[in-house]
């Protein structure tokens, strides 16, 4: 559970902060407040699981995924262009957006590739483990309100989305589209995250929020939306961010026509807290979070016998559509020895988290049962 902070680093950090604290007369800072950096540049960093224990993930601990080194837009001169299949093309400033009715969505943002390093056989790409995911309150304006303001034409089916980040060399641009039916239902153009101005690292001044859908749809540094009849084309639509329609043989690459775009997140739970040791007959607390592309999580269960029998966990009271549910489970071991616990979530549509994830050559949407080992003594 303390993955990413090795013993040497932890001791060094603790010793140095303790000395600083003594000198300054202040309490020892929380040395666990950290990210696990996967790439120095462009910055990719995940949140350690032991910090994903709150309903809202703090902005500075929220995972960061950049495709390339971004040029952050200046909020004072930033404009959002609305063109394409609309009656009245628009160019909106941040003030224009803020003058419109506000909308918020508290929901999970997960990188499509979260958990990639856990797929077998191994696949290339950022080797995320567990923490390219977080839950935040995103505030801005409804996409449908902006489209109504521009006068959406009847023939449009897909919203093409563009951001200000430009690829280096001959790398294809990150141009995307989202189905209009989905984005008009609950899509938000967010300029706040957890009540603060949207940080640049998370797409500020404004980004797209697509509740329940994977992060590749959540365009950062959004500067143009354009309704069109056809979906966007290009590398990041036609080759990347595609997932097999039906499971295949692990390690055998799927052909393009066997795949479909990644859209909704799959039902998934993770374990964030579990004791390394426990005693027979004494309850120990296991905690975690669970979410899905479906609006809610119906239940989370825990097994200590590899899935032969399951016991229900208690879901946290906080929930919103497509947000995660925190859960806890009081585990009372019956026998001594080394026990492996697993968790699984079931969503409000009845989808159950699988024992094994579907292998795919890009390593998307890993959602196998999480596990935690406990040494039980008599």
């Amino acid at each position: 559970m303390s993955e990413g902070l090795n013993r040497r680093q932890l001791l060094a950090a603790a010793a140095a902060t303790a000395m600083t604290a003594v000198a300054a007369g202040v309490p020892t800072p929380d040395v666990r407040r950290r990210l696990l950096q996967m790439n120095g540049y462009p910055l990719d960093a995940e949140t350690p699981l032991d910090l994903l224990t709150t309903y809202l993930t703090p902005n500075d601990l929220f995972f960061v995924r950049h495709h390339w080194n971004p040029t952050f837009p200046d909020a004072s001169t930033w404009r959002l262009t609305v063109d394409g299949e609309v009656e009245r093309p628009l160019s909106l400033s941040l003030s224009d957006l803020k003058a419109m009715p506000r909308a918020s969505a508290t929901c999970v943002l997960q990188c499509a590739g979260n958990g990639r390093s856990l797929h077998r056989p191994i696949v290339p790409g950022v080797q995320w483990k567990y923490g390219a995911v977080g839950n935040a309150k995103w505030t801005g304006v409804r996409v449908r309100d902006v489209l109504e303001k521009a006068g959406l034409k009847a023939g449009a089916r897909h919203l093409h989305t563009f951001g200000t980040d430009k690829p280096p060399e001959k790398v294809p641009p990150f141009h995307r589209s989202v189905e209009l039916d989905k984005i008009r239902e609950d899509g938000v153009i967010a300029f706040e995250m957890n009540g603060e101005p949207l940080p640049q690292a998370h797409g500020g001044p404004a980004r797209l929020v697509v509740p329940g859908w994977a992060g590749d749809h959540w365009m950062k540094w959004l500067d143009r939306i354009s309704p069109q009849a056809a979906p966007q084309t290009g590398f990041y639509m036609d080759t990347a961010y595609r997932y097999p329609k039906t499971p295949g043989e692990p390690g055998v690459a799927f052909k393009p026509d066997e795949m479909t775009p990644v859209t909704e997140l799959f039902v998934k739970s993770n374990i964030t807290e579990s004791p390394a040791a426990a005693r027979v007959g004494k309850a120990a607390t296991i905690r975690g979070f669970a979410f899905s592309g479906a609006p809610d999580v119906a239940k989370v269960e825990v097994t200590d016998d590899g899935g032969a029998t399951w016991s229900p966990a208690t879901l946290g009271k906080d929930h919103d559509p497509h947000a995660w549910r925190l859960w806890s489970f009081a585990y009372t071991p019956k026998n001594s020895g080394r026990v492996t616990l697993h968790a699984r979530a079931t969503d409000s549509r009845g989808s159950v988290q699988p024992k094994n994830a579907v292998w795919n050559q890009s390593g998307y949407l890993y959602n196998a049962w999480p596990s935690a080992d406990v040494e039980v003594s008599a």
């Binding site: 309490p27 996967m38 790439n39 540049y41 910055l43 500075d60 950022v126 001959k170 294809p172």
Partner: protein, 123 residues
């Protein structure tokens, strides 16, 4: 005398605790200063004749981390290098095979050396 000393020590401890609690209540825990700030490039490619070739091919767009965390077969490395060359990575034709061999040697399927950098959240 001894009781007075104990009382003074107790009072000082209480004061320090109270002051500490006040400071703690007013500021959220600061991240440890000695961890690198997120976004810091630290790792280098392994020494060898291909290091300079890898530096030139890869580092214009991303840090060495992106390579060093991979665990790929020769077939996978060949596909990655072909993709990157198409996207603008400069690899002299007569160095391609050696560069792939270098990546397979250091970042093949049994590569377990990469650890994420434990970083302070950027301010």
């Amino acid at each position: 005398m001894r009781r007075a000393g104990v009382a003074v020590v107790a009072a000082v401890v209480a004061l320090v605790l109270a002051a500490g609690a006040l400071v703690f209540a007013q500021s959220r825990p600061a991240p440890p200063e000695e961890l690198p700030v997120a976004g810091t490039q630290l790792g280098e490619f392994p020494d060898g004749p291909m290091k300079a070739v890898a530096d030139q091919a890869c580092l214009r767009c991303h840090s060495t981390d992106m390579i060093r965390q991979q665990r790929l077969t020769e077939k996978q490395w060949t596909a990655e290098l072909t993709k990157m060359a198409g996207w603008g990575a400069v690899v002299p034709e007569d160095q391609k095979a050696a560069l792939i061999a270098y990546f397979v040697e250091h970042f093949g399927p049994d590569n377990d050396r990469f650890q994420p950098v434990v970083a302070r959240p950027a301010p």
